[in-house]
């Protein structure tokens, strides 16, 4: 193994370097200059994103524990783009007097979780997978409790760390039986010998329950709304977009590569969970008055749609999941970006406060409307194609009833997404949120979302690129 082989891990190594660099730069800044770190981090991360897109090595390292392929690279790049947008959107909030002392902490914790997700996606072994999962989860709890003098933030932090620790415990219990019955932790070797003995099915169910916690599928979704509401809004957007995206990526990889021999068993399970997740997420989203909580339940419902692609089990299935996550990153970050911009300036996050927003802040309202349309899946924007491909994947595997239920759910979701639009455009308000002008980074972050929503909807090449890299289950 030569030193150049380490270029295979360029995403991970570079980001680790950036995180350490941020720490060192922060040590050398005076307390009054702490906010200088923000542009430095943005430039460094932008470089990182660009380098991530360069063609690079693929291969296997550390005896198969780490695998890098064109598919994992494209997944990491998708996450990178999302994080870049979040970095821009969080500037206003970071500059507030409360956070002045600990700006760099935010970046370091954010990057640590991202490194964990990289390793999780690239893992070729359950040990590496578990390590990546924990590296991604533990700093997340610290991020959720970031504004430590706020009771809600602390509550979100403890709820996140306790429920995720329990879920990793459940997942590990499943992994221990996978190890006990197969004698290996490597994905390839486990896949070769995995069969349908009772203990192996039990192990798989424990494993899946642990993963379902992370993606917040019903009935493991109970932590989601509280954590999303309590955490600072930029952390929430990270949690709902990047964290969920990474977990869905690795879930689909593991289901397709390791557990494909018992696919006929997990199909029924996922079928039921998909229906539950979509329906419960939608029904609860309807009655929410807090924007963050509303988006939390909407993201639970969206996770249910992701399961449709997994059920497809073929190349279309995997492509549609990756494409949907990509679209979902832009549409959800658009919505969260508006919420974050309004929250940072006015401190308001209730849906009633959005009444009459169009009269005072037309641009923000239009972006919010666009994101809502994209989340609901209305044709001209990208969200429609994301959902369309997911439905295609499920229908191609013969799940017509499930697709019907999903379409009904998409219609229900349209109702509550339009509630927000109605509040902004039609509802009257004596004291609407006054006109304000966001600062430049926030505007860049919001503009990137608009571009993403439109470009992904019209530029079909992206789907084809992902499709050429995806794989399905043979003999499904």
């Amino acid at each position: 193994m030569s030193i150049y082989d380490f270029l295979t891990m360029r995403h991970e190594l570079l980001l680790t370097l950036i995180a350490i660099l941020v720490l060192i730069i922060d040590l050398n800044l005076k307390p009054s200059q702490k906010h200088y770190i923000i542009p430095i981090v943005q430039v460094l991360f932008l470089l990182h994103v660009v380098i991530g897109f360069l063609p690079g090595n693929e291969g296997v390292m550390f005896g198969g524990m780490y695998r890098s392929s064109a598919l994992t690279i494209i997944m990491k790049n998708i996450l990178n783009v999302g994080v870049l947008i979040i970095l821009f959107q969080s500037v206003t909030w970071l500059k507030s007097p409360d956070n002045r002392e600990k700006i760099s902490e935010y970046f370091i914790l954010l990057f640590s979780t991202l490194i964990g997700m990289y390793f999780m996606i690239s893992s070729g072994d359950f040990l590496m997978f578990y390590l990546g999962l924990e590296i991604a989860t533990i700093p997340m709890a610290a991020l959720a409790a970031y504004t430590h003098h706020q009771t809600r933030s602390a509550e979100a932090g403890i709820k996140l760390i306790l429920s995720s620790a329990l879920s990793s415990g459940v997942l590990l219990f499943g992994l221990s039986f996978i190890y006990g019955t197969t004698g290996s932790l490597y994905f390839d070797q486990v896949a070769e010998v995995y069969s349908n003995s009772s203990l192996q099915i039990l192990a798989f169910i424990f494993f899946f329950a642990g993963m379902a916690f992370k993606i917040s599928l019903v009935p493991f979704h109970l932590w989601t709304a509280d954590v999303y509401e309590g955490a600072p809004v930029n952390v929430t957007s990270y949690l709902s977009v990047i964290s969920k995206g990474a977990a869905s990526f690795i879930l689909i990889i593991i289901l397709f590569t390791v557990f494909h021999s018992i696919a006929y068993l997990w199909k029924d399970m996922i079928y039921l969970i998909a229906i539950l997740t979509m329906t419960v997420g939608n029904l609860f989203a309807m009655r929410q008055k807090n924007m963050k909580r509303f988006l939390a339940f909407s993201s639970i419902a969206q996770a249910g749609f992701i399961l449709l692609g997994i059920l497809g089990g073929n190349v279309t299935g995997m492509t549609s999941v990756i494409y949907f996550v990509l679209v979902y990153i832009f549409s959800n970050l658009g919505a969260f970006g508006v919420v974050s911009a309004i929250l940072a300036v006015t401190g308001k996050e209730s849906m009633d406060d959005y009444d009459g927003l169009y009269a005072t802040n037309p641009k923000l309202s239009l972006l919010m409307t666009l994101s809502m349309f994209s989340l609901a899946g209305i044709p001209p924007v990208a969200g429609f194609f994301g959902k369309f491909f997911l439905f295609t994947a499920a229908a191609s595997a013969g799940y017509y009833w499930l697709v019907l239920i999903a379409v009904l759910n998409a219609t229900i979701s349209l109702y509550y997404y339009l509630l927000v639009v109605k509040a902004m455009f039609i509802n009257k308000n004596e004291t609407p949120i006054a006109y304000f002008k966001s600062d430049l980074p926030t505007r860049i972050g919001l503009l990137a979302c608009v571009l993403g929503i439109f470009v992904l909807g019209f530029w079909s090449q992206i789907y084809e690129i992902i499709s050429s890299l995806s794989f399905g289950i043979v003999n499904f």
């Binding site: 390590l131 533990i138 602390a154 509550e155 403890i158 306790l162 039986f177 509280d226 309590g230």
Partner: protein
């Protein structure tokens, strides 16, 4: 040394520990005790890994390594959780779960 105690004994112990941990997590109302329940769960997994490795696959060591890494990660998790619990105590003046219920439904 192996063979004196059958593997099943370890599995029964670890399964009992796992479910005691889950039960404790769901019923206890004190945050520190909930954290202790999670440690029980993780340690039951450790017993599983080490027992499987020793009895079934003694030719390699991946189970031992896995349990070592679980111990390290559990320590990190406990550190962050306790830091947040201290923060909870400062904010709520209590570490009772029933008091930490500002957000519901």
């Amino acid at each position: 040394m192996t063979g004196t105690i059958p593997l099943q004994f370890f599995l029964v112990i670890s399964t009992l520990m796992f479910f005691i941990g889950v039960f404790g997590f769901l019923t206890r109302r004190n945050l520190i005790t909930m954290l202790m329940s999670i440690e029980l769960i993780l340690n039951s997994v450790n017993i599983n890994f080490v027992a499987f490795n020793k009895y079934l696959f003694p030719q390699h060591l991946s189970g031992h390594f896995f349990s070592l890494i679980i111990i390290a990660v559990a320590a990190a998790e406990a550190a962050v959780a306790i830091a947040i619990i201290i923060n909870i105590y400062r904010n709520f003046k209590s570490i009772d779960v029933d008091k930490v219920d500002e957000m519901k439904y």
